[in-house]
């Protein structure tokens, strides 16, 4: 690699480094407490997945270019150029990371390795080494947003089919899936699949909510790819739509990163305040149950139910209790996983890793702690409000023959509602 190219990549690091990040890379004592916190290191024993090591690669380049010690005596301070070897290492350690931030929770200095790896992704993208699949998924989402008229017919037709299913479940001919309803209170920003819309529609309609759906979805592979501009563009579609429709609140679905992007990142990316509230679907459902807007029956779900905290909703989003309250409201047989809440193990499926075939082996090995937890719980039903987590845990369930049913929380809620067309039952 040419010297000038390496200087350019070092410049990317310099541009991204704020005082907090500089402190992180200076303060790491290499105590390696993070090794016992990282599901990937625990599951594989591979040094490159040690959180301190992942961050160390960025520190080495920073030392080489922007720190006197590393500039003048690079060998002594392990300072390195961002050459092809370093970028190879950086690619594996960065894109394999699920961004669960369990290492940060246990780090004595609360070093945010996932944040440091956002710098690493910027370097990799600048070097033309961003993950190709995540880039394609992000570009496809941007294309869909730019050409919504091209897809409006198939999307609307899908909504009409779901509306039929909703009416069949609730038995109410007035129920449906309102699309682009001006002046609705709530815009539900779903995922692309019917599974994300159908149960939410049943719940909204039964609760008598003033709601609507639009052509735009919540998933954001620009965020996983590591390009804030792509991520901003993807999110902007539904933010603009929410403004146009004049809603008071946007509600994001059971998708961990979608919640974090909408609630925590978009305003920072766009530098504009959102003129409405952002809620997670489970906050709404919890409220509907507690205020009696929907009726649930604990007798309709058979078996023992446990709950997995998706990292982006739980540890990184602070939503621990509402989902548990919902699950406890729909079953008398709830057992928690151990550990749980902020100490919950990452399942290994976040960060877009389920879409990256090259990390399949590490992904499945890194699920070992989750498998241990699920076995120890004795539960036969898992409620899990994150698409990526469910994809991972369903695969672990099959490989390790756990014999569990993996459910969205909102599906479990609908299964517990005494509705005339409710055929789906859990644990039966």
């Amino acid at each position: 690699m040419e010297t000038v190219e390496m200087q350019t990549l070092a410049g990317v690091i310099d541009k991204k480094m704020n005082r907090q990040l500089k402190q992180y890379i200076d303060i790491c004592a290499r105590c390696a407490i993070c090794k016992d916190a990282c599901h990937q290191y625990v599951g594989t024993g591979d040094f490159k997945y040690l959180p301190a090591r992942r961050a160390e690669l960025i520190r080495q380049v920073y030392k080489k270019y922007f720190d006197k010690t590393g500039r003048f005596v690079p060998a002594l301070y392990e300072a390195r150029d961002p050459d092809d070897n370093l970028l190879d290492e950086l690619y594996d350690s960065t894109y394999a990371c699920t961004g669960c931030r369990r290492c940060m929770y246990y780090c004595p200095f609360s070093i945010d390795t996932a944040w440091i790896l956002s710098v690493a992704k910027a370097v990799l993208i600048a070097a033309g080494r961003g993950n190709e699949m995540l880039g394609q998924l992000a570009d496809a989402a941007i294309f869909k947003g730019d050409n919504v008229a091209m897809f409006e017919g198939v999307i609307t037709s899908g909504f009409e089919e779901i509306a039929e299913e909703v009416r069949a479940i609730t038995g109410n001919p007035d129920h449906g899936v309102p699309v682009n309803k001006q002046g609705a209170d709530v815009l539900y920003v779903a995922l692309a699949g019917a599974h994300s819309i159908r149960p939410a529609a049943v719940i909204f309609e039964e609760a008598g909510e003033s709601w609507t759906i639009s052509m735009f979805e919540a998933a954001n592979y620009g965020y996983f790819y590591g390009d804030p501009e792509k991520a901003r563009l993807i999110t902007k579609r539904y933010i603009d739509e929410a403004v146009r429709l004049g809603v008071k609140e946007i509600v994001v679905p059971e998708c961990g990163h979608a919640y974090r992007v909408a609630e925590f990142f978009y305003e920072a990316w766009s530098k504009e305040p959102m003129p409405f509230k952002v809620s997670h679907i489970l906050e709404k459902v919890d409220d509907y149950i507690k205020t009696g807007r929907i009726k649930v029956d604990k007798g309709l779900i058979e078996g023992t139910v446990t709950y997995h905290d998706p990292c982006q909703l739980g540890r990184n989003g602070g939503k621990f209790e509402q989902p548990r309250d919902i699950v406890k409201a729909v079953t008398s047989n709830f057992v928690d996983l151990t550990p749980n809440r902020a100490e919950q193990w990452c399942c290994g499926g976040g960060g877009g890793i389920v879409a990256m075939e090259e990390f399949k082996d590490v992904r499945l090995k890194s699920g070992s702690k989750k498998v241990e937890q699920l076995k120890a719980s004795g539960a036969n039903i898992l409620a899990c409000p994150c698409e990526n987590c469910r994809l991972q845990i369903e695969e672990l369930n099959e490989i390790h023959e756990l014999g569990m049913e993996i459910w969205q929380v909102i599906d479990l809620v609908v299964a517990s509602m005494p509705l005339p067309g409710n055929k789906k039952s859990a644990g039966a």
Binding site: M133, G193, E217
Partner: protein
């Protein structure tokens, strides 16, 4: 068109949810020769927008996309 088109690879994407149908097509596009065709069958309606959007943004071509019963069937041509 499906009756006349030579299929180079069949992909069973039934049961996969967004974005996996698009991911599987993308992963397999280089497993057919240039001008070769993948026939992909999915059950997630999200694929009806996702796969054409992926093809358009990557420069490949969707020869047809439609519903056959409960299945969504795509013919995707590798163009490069």
């Amino acid at each position: 068109m499906s009756d006349e088109t030579k299929i180079d690879l069949e992909l069973d994407l039934k049961g996969l949810l967004c974005p996996l149908p698009m991911v599987r097509v993308s992963q397999n596009i280089t497993n057919v020769p240039v001008d070769g065709v993948i026939r992909a069958v999915a059950t997630d309606p999200g694929a009806m927008a996702d796969i054409p959007a992926w093809a358009a943004s990557t420069g490949h071509e969707v020869l047809s996309a439609g519903k056959e019963g409960d299945l969504f069937v795509f013919l995707v041509k590798r163009t490069k």
